[in-house]
């Protein structure tokens, strides 16, 4: 029994050794050449300097600006979309958040909304999530943010509905059609990695200022998961099942409708869940173009550095995310259970249940329509003030007492790791860095990725932002290393203990959904306006994904292997390092590559707190007319960096996985 684990682990490590030497050799050669040629061909570009490409993009956008009012495409197409979107959001707002139809209050008051949400959670989920929903929704009022929360909910629901309307059909198409799938995948990558700031300002030119632009911005970011996951679900349906249905004489359409879609239903619900989460991520950023809701509160609080108020609103966003996440997950599980067990209860009983719930909800909604106490959340119940005061006090304490240590940490990481690495990257001629990247791709993955890497390097040079790209690359890689350290430490801890998992998971959820603008100010106070601040912010955002994936990987290690190692007398340390981590290696590589993408998503936020480089270029392009072209180029450069790094790590992971399996 004991021998089962060890030789497998030993074999698995064998092929990795020579590759590790090769990588080390490449790095050594790089440093050696750098010593002689540093400072040559590094493409310096000053803050306000533009390349001809940037100027041309500026001119191009100018042309669009000027033709917008004469072009029938705008007059008859875009304008109607805008009207439709504005109306949809305003309609939902009229129902739940704004005074409407001549009433001083919305149609459905707080009690009705809480009842509706709870009923939905109960009917599609279970009693537990229904309880969570009731408490969560009530807490919006308790935090003193009822109206703002409902605005956010209205915008999110409109954007999610639209995303699903577009995303699910496209996802089904991508699921059944390989060519369309290949075509759409890079486009989705692009949509998810392109920083929102880049298209936020142009969007307002198309869809004007207001809910429509905010909805479109949200949809651009939230539709990719809907498409991807739907396609994945359709694809996952086993060929045998399809053959069976085909042999029974089903047409392609019938087998899609009767076999593939029902079987993919659970996966599609996962897609819905991811779409909602992505939409909520946009709440604060969309506030910059006057999107209503909690994001506004966060952005306003940031103006006066009012951490307490920002946190209070951020907390409401987190609560909303957690409630929506748990309800959709529970709905997904319900579908699966029903699918496995067949219909266990009679339809009659279910119908009675639905009737009862709806009746109660209807009564509560009516009360909230008629009586002020049930329509307007009682302001005496507002505990938001205490939350604000508590957070303010905690922030103040941390800044007063921890700044010495955090400053020391900042200097250690900056001088010891970041500065030398950045000097190496930015000081090397572009062809040297390019060659190193291509060599890495060659060693770690395959010929196709080598080609992709070469193209990406060429694009980075062509975009005219080589220097800034290298600064960003340095910070990104350092942040990813920190993410992985956290990911492994916490992930192993969580993976080995269910109790730890239960405590830590909500914290991770909060880290992912809390708008970065909220924790920027405290981190700024601790680390100053530096690249490290940006790195820490990125780690807060990216570490949860890495931790979760690692924990899942650790939990996925076969219990027999763990038992075997324990029986053979392994210590806990040995068990972790010799059995669990090696066996979870593919999960770890996935965690690293996802962590990297999440870090890149924070590059622009980093630009707001002293990271400079590409993030700053994007923010500058958002704020200054003549830098618009450069900002767009910087956005594309971030996407290019993302694609390059993701391709290398993903194929490396796949190769490692294949080798591990081959060894078995």
């Amino acid at each position: 029994m004991a021998t089962q684990a060890t030789p497998a682990g030993g074999l698995r490590r064998l092929p990795a050794w020579p590759r590790r030497y090769l990588l080390a050799a490449v790095v050594a050669a790089w440093v050696l050449i750098w010593v002689f040629v540093q400072g040559r061909d590094t493409f310096q570009l000053g803050g306000a300097e533009l390349t001809p490409l940037h100027v041309r993009i500026n001119e191009g956008s100018e042309v669009i600006d000027n033709s917008r009012n004469d072009n029938p495409f705008f007059l008859y197409f875009i304008n109607y979309i805008r009207l439709f979107l504005d109306e949809s959001v305003t309609f939902v707002q009229a129902l739940i958040s704004r005074p409407s139809f001549g009433r001083p209050l919305p149609v459905v008051g707080w009690l009705g909304v809480v009842a509706f949400a709870t009923a939905i959670a109960l009917l599609w989920g279970n009693l537990r999530v229904a309880l969570l929903t009731a408490i969560g929704f009530a807490s919006f009022g308790l935090l003193g943010l009822w109206e703002e929360s409902m605005d956010t909910l209205a915008l999110t629901l409109a954007a999610v509905a639209l995303s699903l309307l577009i995303g699910i059909p496209l996802g089904v198409w991508a699921g059944v059609n390989d060519r369309f799938n290949r075509l759409v995948t890079p486009l989705l990558d692009f949509m998810q990695t392109m920083p929102t700031f880049v298209y936020l300002a142009p969007l307002t030119l198309f869809f004007l200022i207001g809910p429509a632009s905010a909805t479109v911005a949200t949809v651009i970011y939230a539709v990719p998961p809907a498409i991807r996951i739907t396609a994945h679900g359709i694809r996952e349906v086993r060929p045998a099942t399809l053959e069976a249905s085909a042999s029974l004489g089903s047409t392609a359409w019938q087998s899609l409708r009767k076999v593939r879609l029902p079987l993919a239903k659970r996966t599609i619900i996962v897609g819905v869940n991811q779409t909602i989460m992505a939409a909520l991520c946009m709440v604060t950023i969309a506030a910059l173009i006057d999107a209503p809701g909690l994001g506004k509160t966060v952005v306003k609080a940031l103006e006066t550095l009012d951490v307490g108020s920002a946190f209070n609103a951020g907390l409401a966003i987190v609560v909303m995310a957690i409630v929506l996440d748990r309800v959709t997950s529970a709905a997904g599980r319900r579908v699966e259970i029903r699918h496995r067990a067949g219909r266990s209860r009679g339809p009659g009983r279910r119908r009675a249940e639905i009737g009862a719930v709806l009746a109660v909800t209807g009564v509560l909604a009516y009360l909230s329509h008629v009586y002020v106490w049930a329509a307007e959340f009682p302001s005496e119940a507002n505990i938001g003030r205490y939350v604000r005061q508590g957070v303010d006090a905690a922030t103040l304490w941390a800044q007063d007492n921890l700044a010495v240590y955090t400053g020391a940490f900042r200097n250690a990481v900056s001088y010891g790791l970041l500065n030398p690495f950045e000097a190496l990257l930015t000081g090397s001629p572009w062809w040297l860095v390019g060659a190193v990247l291509i060599a890495f791709a060659a060693i770690l993955s395959n010929v196709r990725v080598v080609l992709v890497t070469a193209v990406c390097v060429a694009l980075l040079v062509g975009l005219g932002l080589w220097q800034d790209s290298m600064v960003t690359l340095a910070s990104t890689l350092v942040a990813t290393v920190l993410v992985m350290v956290l990911g492994v430490v916490v992930g192993v801890w969580m993976g080995r203990s269910d109790r730890v998992d239960q405590v830590v998971r909500p914290v991770l959820d909060a880290g992912q959904t809390m708008p970065p603008f909220v924790y920027l100010v405290p981190i700024l106070g601790l680390f100053g306006a530096t690249r490290i601040t940006a790195i820490i912010a990125a780690v807060v955002y990216a570490a949860p994904v890495a931790v979760k994936l690692t924990a899942d990987g650790i939990r996925g290690v076969a219990p027999s292997a763990v038992e075997a190692a324990t029986a053979a007398g392994s210590s806990t340390w040995q068990l972790i390092t010799k059995v669990q981590l090696p066996m979870a290696r593919s999960a770890l590589t996935l965690a690293a590559s996802q962590g990297l993408i999440y870090v890149l998503a924070m590059v622009v936020v980093g630009g707001l707190v002293g990271a400079g480089a590409l993030g700053y270029d994007v923010v500058a392009g958002f704020s200054q007319l003549q830098l618009r072209g450069k900002g767009l180029a910087a956005g594309v450069a971030i996407v290019v960096l993302g694609i390059m790094l993701e391709r290398i790590t993903r194929t490396a992971a796949r190769r490692a996985d294949a080798e591990a399996h081959g060894a078995r």
Binding site: L75, L524, G525, T530, T533, V609, G610, G612, S623
Partner: protein, 331 residues
């Protein structure tokens, strides 16, 4: 002309809005009470109707203070309905072209935007000064000015460069700059004044203020770009560093600037359509002026006393009836 053409649906909305307003004036119907404003009083004088005014709110507190006071007076004294839109500067200017914004009530120079929207597209016009003087410059926290009195002259900055070294400044002293939308010549200044400093871009106002706040509290050195009027100056009295004096045209060539920033006359920009509408709100915006002290006070109500912008405006307006009276249309 450009405005009216994209404005097909817009015109409809306007029609509906005016319709509502007219009916509200004709005697309040049940359920159409419009926030309790009393438009009847102003229409009794035979003045023009005000309608809806869209004011852009740029993201800094001083701006919000100005906008809140104008909005308060427009609503209470003129019976307008004011829509505030939270927007960054460039997007707010775009709003002139698309008809979504009527007024920007505190504008810092932005010659490129003026050229594009006022001169080229002719969709906006200037509505004169706000009375606020914009000061831009280099500042140090008060404790430094006290400990090193001669630090407030640029000639001595090189002597202290070592103090300002950080992990970001590559061995030189650090000069921290803020949001990319701010007017800055700092990179050129450092070069042309032969200072041993590197400009580090913090990227946001929040980063600048947090930096100065920590610097004063922890007694750490900091040199940074800052400006007034600004609410933060009522919390920490930053000290301005003297740069070579500004003379007319010394900043003409952006590459060769070696002088201080000029005193900015902050102004108001309105859409052409709004200016031509004859709305009393336009007269209000045009007549509005006050001082840096006025704005800082309202900004302080908002940022430190945690009042809402509306409460702060109401308090200030209540305390300064004479100033407000001077802004009102006199027809």
């Amino acid at each position: 002309m450009t405005v009216s053409r994209i404005g097909r649906p817009r015109a409809m909305a306007l029609l509906v809005a005016t319709g509502l307003l007219v009916s509200a004036c004709g005697g309040a119907k049940v359920g159409e009470s419009d926030g309790g404003a009393a438009p009847a009083a102003s229409s009794a004088d035979g003045k023009k109707e005000c309608g809806t005014v869209n004011i852009a709110i740029n993201p800094w507190v001083g701006y919000e203070a100005t906008a809140a006071v104008i909005a308060h007076v427009a609503e209470k004294d003129l019976g307008c309905s004011v829509t505030k839109k939270d927007l960054k500067e460039e997007i707010a200017w775009q709003g002139f072209a698309t008809g979504e914004v009527d007024a920007i009530v505190e504008n810092w120079a932005h010659d490129d935007l003026k050229k594009k929207y006022i001169e080229d597209q002719k969709v906006a016009v200037s509505a004169g000064s706000t009375g606020n003087k914009g000061v831009i410059g280099w500042y140090v926290p008060p404790w430094m000015a006290e400990k090193y009195p001669d630090i407030t002259d640029w000639k001595n900055l090189n002597k202290y460069a070592d103090l300002f070294k950080t992990s970001e400044s590559g061995g030189k002293g650090q000069l921290l700059d803020g949001d990319p939308s701010f007017v800055t010549n700092d990179a050129a200044l450092v070069k042309n004044l032969k200072l041993d400093y590197k400009v580090v871009y913090a990227g946001s106002e929040a980063a600048l203020i947090t930096g100065f706040r920590q610097a004063e509290k922890q007694k750490t050195p900091m040199l940074g770009y800052f400006y007034e009027p600004q609410w933060f100056l009522s919390e920490v009295k930053l000290v301005k560093v003297k740069l070579p004096e500004y003379t007319e045209g010394c900043d003409a060539d952006a590459e060769k600037v070696a002088c201080d920033y000029p005193l900015y006359d902050l102004d108001k920009i309105v859409s052409k359509k709004f200016a031509d509408s004859g709305s009393p709100a336009y007269d209000l915006v045009k007549n509005f002026t006050w001082t840096n002290e006025d704005q800082n006070l309202v900004a302080k109500y908002i940022s430190e006393d945690k009042m809402t912008a509306e409460e702060a405006a109401e308090k200030w307006v209540g305390d300064n009836p004479d100033k407000v009276k001077a802004w009102l249309p006199t027809s």
